[in-house]
């Protein structure tokens, strides 16, 4: 398909700019102006609409069909959220307004949304206070580790390391390293989780924090958790909860009760805000009481008269990690989701997410290797090792799934399972969808035996077939030359 630049016709215009009503010339000297206008496309509004509509049809979203991309929680994104985030009273609101004298009273609705959302998340997770500023999950991780660092510094602790299990998302070690820590990786045991013995070997007085995803990326709940928490706290380390998989335990366990000190959540996973093709998300961070002084500023507080205000008076705060109050438009969507589902709905989320995962796992385990055959939480990891004997990799299976109209599972993550396929159905999928997907997966397992070549050529139904990634690296073609 042509690029928008390749559809450009010199002189063609899209939207019209208003006429000037001031009759004044620009008073910027010629030397400070650009010589040529930037070579943006010259297209009509309809050209634009047709172009991007055509592009949208080359995408697979949750609204297109089942999207069991493990670890990403691709659940349905309620349309109400889209609508409320576009209300003029929110969308047109300038973020500097509450920082002006008398401006705070003119932004009470927005401040309340931030305040209420933080409080709902505190109750859901058992934490004492949240900051809504982090703009993505990884951004929440970095914020969380900065809080850990500020805490240890204030306590006079000399801490240099962060412990991360080998099943963790890559963002965990990256966030810890960027915050200035060295990373100690702990291998998973034969049960697929970080065991106490392995953990003890890694833990020492210089451990600042232990970052755990619970349940972990294999979809397993670590039954040794209480012991790990106790050992970590004894060593003066803080427990960090990566909330990527909170969807599995809503209403069943709370990170705060489990002994975690810092938590980040992904509103675009558990709280149903759309993933946007790779953002915007939101990664609020919750902490136990002893870490509250270090939370970012500004903070939204409720005054005794019931009004809301921004509060900056926290001398131990790590400071500003976002320009304002976080991805407000995303926070609104999560807020309306929580209000809609309420207590019983949120409990139902984890129940049905775990039910769907186990139901699907049960249907597939005869046909694929299942490295950890036990009750899983909201997702499970299969291996294509059996299919590999016929030269069929998980990549080939993923591509063949595409030809059958579904989004493939996450492949080659977690790294600790060979030829992995990580499947997360989410609670918003019906039994029929799971049955239909299982049939496809079973058909593909059979095809791997009978006609492996058919899988290796997939996909054949898409606008492009498999793409040459080596060539992309070599050519380094990142933009269209003028």
């Amino acid at each position: 398909m042509k690029l928008i630049y390749e559809k450009s016709v010199p002189g063609r215009r899209g939207v019209r700019c208003p006429d000037s009503d001031v009759n004044t010339k620009i008073d910027i000297p010629e030397t400070l102006l650009r010589k040529e206008p930037a070579a943006l496309p010259e297209v009509s509004e309809l050209d634009v609409i047709r172009h991007f509509t055509a592009l949208s049809r080359r995408n697979h979203g949750v609204d297109t069909n089942f999207y069991p991309l493990g670890s990403c929680t691709m659940k349905y994104n309620p349309k109400l959220g889209e609508q409320v985030s576009r209300l003029d009273g929110f969308a047109a609101l300038h973020p500097l307004l509450p920082q002006l004298l008398r401006g705070g009273m003119l932004t009470q609705g927005a401040l309340q949304v931030i305040y209420d959302t933080g409080h709902l998340l505190s109750e859901i997770t058992g934490m004492d206070e949240f900051t809504m500023q982090p703009m993505a999950g990884a951004h929440g991780e970095l914020t969380g580790i900065m809080l850990v660092a500020a805490y240890h510094k204030a306590m006079g602790n000399k801490k240099t390391k962060v412990i991360v299990p080998d099943s963790a998302h890559g963002t965990n070690p990256a966030s810890a390293a960027i915050a200035g820590y060295s990373v100690v990786t702990v291998p998973s045991n034969e049960r697929g989780v970080m065991g106490v013995e392995e953990f003890k070997k890694a833990l020492d007085d210089e451990t600042a924090a232990v970052m755990l995803t619970t349940p972990n990326t294999l979809g397993l709940f670590n039954t040794d958790l209480p012991q790990i928490v106790e050992l970590a706290h004894k060593a003066g380390a803080l427990m960090y909860y990566d909330g990527a998989n909170l969807n599995a335990i809503l209403g069943r366990a709370r990170p705060g009760d489990l002994g975690f000190d810092v938590v980040h959540l992904n509103l675009h996973k558990t709280f149903a805000t759309p993933h946007g093709g790779g953002g915007p998300g939101a990664g609020p961070v919750g902490v136990r009481e002893k870490l509250i002084p270090f939370l970012p500023i500004s903070r939204v507080v409720k005054r005794s008269d019931g009004t809301f205000a921004l509060d900056y008076d926290h001398p131990q705060s790590i400071g500003y990690i976002a320009p304002f109050y976080g991805n407000f438009g995303v926070i609104l969507k999560a807020y309306s989701y929580m209000l809609t589902l309420g207590r019983e709905g949120l409990i139902r989320v984890s129940e049905n997410a775990v039910l769907n995962a186990n139901y699907l796992k049960n249907k597939l385990k005869k046909h694929y290797e299942l490295p950890n055959d036990r009750m899983c939480m909201h997702e499970f990891v299969l291996s294509a090792d059996r299919q590999m004997k016929n030269g069929v990799r998980s990549l080939d299976i993923a591509k063949a799934i595409i030809d059958r109209g579904y989004h493939p599972p996450t492949i080659y993550f977690p790294l600790i399972v060979h030829e992995s396929m990580m499947i997360e159905p989410t609670e918003t999928e019906s039994k029929e969808t799971l049955d239909a997907f299982a049939e496809i997966m079973i058909e593909l397992a059979e095809l791997a035996e009978t006609n492996p070549d058919a899988l290796r050529n997939a996909p054949v139904t898409t606008p492009v077939s498999r793409l040459d990634e080596v060539k992309a690296v070599k050519n380094m073609d990142f933009s269209l030359p003028e």
Binding site: L3, I4, R13, I26, A38, E42, E45, V48, R58, N59, H60, D63, Y67, C72, P78, L80, S85, D88, G89, A91, H94, L97, M135, A136, G137, M146, A149, A150, H169, A174, T223, R252, A253, G276, G277, G279, P280, Y320, A322, G329, M338, L339, T340, L341, N352, L355, R374, M375, M377, F413, E427, S430, K431, P463, S465, L467, E469, V473, F478, S479
Partner: protein, 444 residues
Amino acid sequence: MPYIPHTDAERKEMLGSLGLDSIDGLFDYIPKSLAPKSFDLPKGKSEFEVQRRLQALAAKNATELVCFVGGGFYDHYVPAAVDAIVSRSEFYTAYTPYQPEISQGTLQAIYEYQTAICRLTGMEVANASLYDGGTALYEASMMAVRSTGRRKIVVCQGVSPIYRVMLASYTTNLHLQFVEIPVDGGLIDRKKMKAAIDSDTAAVIVQNPNFFGCVDDFTDVSEAAHAAGALVVCSAYPLSLGLIKPPGDMNADIVTGEGQSLGLPLSFGGPYLGFMATKMNQVRKMPGRIVGATTDTEGRRGFVLTLQTREQHIRRDKATSNICSNEALCALSALVYMSLLGKEGLRDVAGLCAEKAAYMRKRFSEIPGVSIKYPAPVFNEFTIELPCDAGAVIGMLIEKGFAAGFPLGRYYKGMENSMLVAVTEKRTKEEIGRLAEALEEALS
């Protein structure tokens, strides 16, 4: 239950297939002792009730104020077609394009966006986006630190104070040295700037137009930085680049900025769009996703995420950044906006902003007691000096229906009487006139 399709009969059947008779059996791995101590949340509500509640909250915010507040975040007009496109759920309900064959929509859009950012900034390569202008500036600083192996950063005080405090937060434990250079007449103090740049300097950070609204040509600063082996980082206001000389032409090495002006609503602070562009020789040091063109097995052009060995999911603690999700949908908004305005349209909008600012600056200079703080040229924002506390005056003008500007004393000591005023293509001559009259009245 909303959004959850299972009937009770289906739940029972599915549990039965697992040999379970109750849902609790699924959670046996969580010890009973770990059950929530509390889960005290409100009861669920109907869509209508939630909608009404959110409408009521929205109504408590004053969006009818005539907005002259900028500070890096502007009330520009967003054409209807932008929202029409980003509301297509094939875009917004997808995730990061890990499977390129069914993600060509997102991938091609990002490639087109990268192209637009390069052309606008005069740079060679752009990434797929970062969270916002502030985190983009932090990432650029770290990129310069990695690239040069040095730890000193020289930053002009004309760089947004909002971004400078963010930079300070992120780098607290990283043993970097920051040197701040004041402005002189609204522009970079050349003498102090050049004196501060030395062989320890990793980055020189400037902003153009700067926080005070002034437009500069920092080519000479780039020359001094390059002579010392430092990189030049420029934070830019992308819409202004429709008109003013791009940072690439002033030899910046990394250009970052806030993309909100390119078709994104103000939305009380986010989601916004951090953009970043650089030279090809720095591309492997760049954080974030990058899309590249390639071909499929039949020779057709297609797009993939590329140079991924820089990234956290491959390199873990050795990655250039921890970023994963960025602001892809906001980048799409920016691309659609730039396509709708096009080559001439972006220049026209930027030109209109500059004309209105010129008019307004002249009009304000005629108000008794008001003076123009800096003589330097401005784009769409400028600084005025009042005879009294600017914050208090702004408070008075809010009562008259104006978000009149931003009090610089909030971030700059000794500038308590200074006020930053911005104008966009949306503001009319009549509104400017009314604000001028209200200001005159407030001062008298």
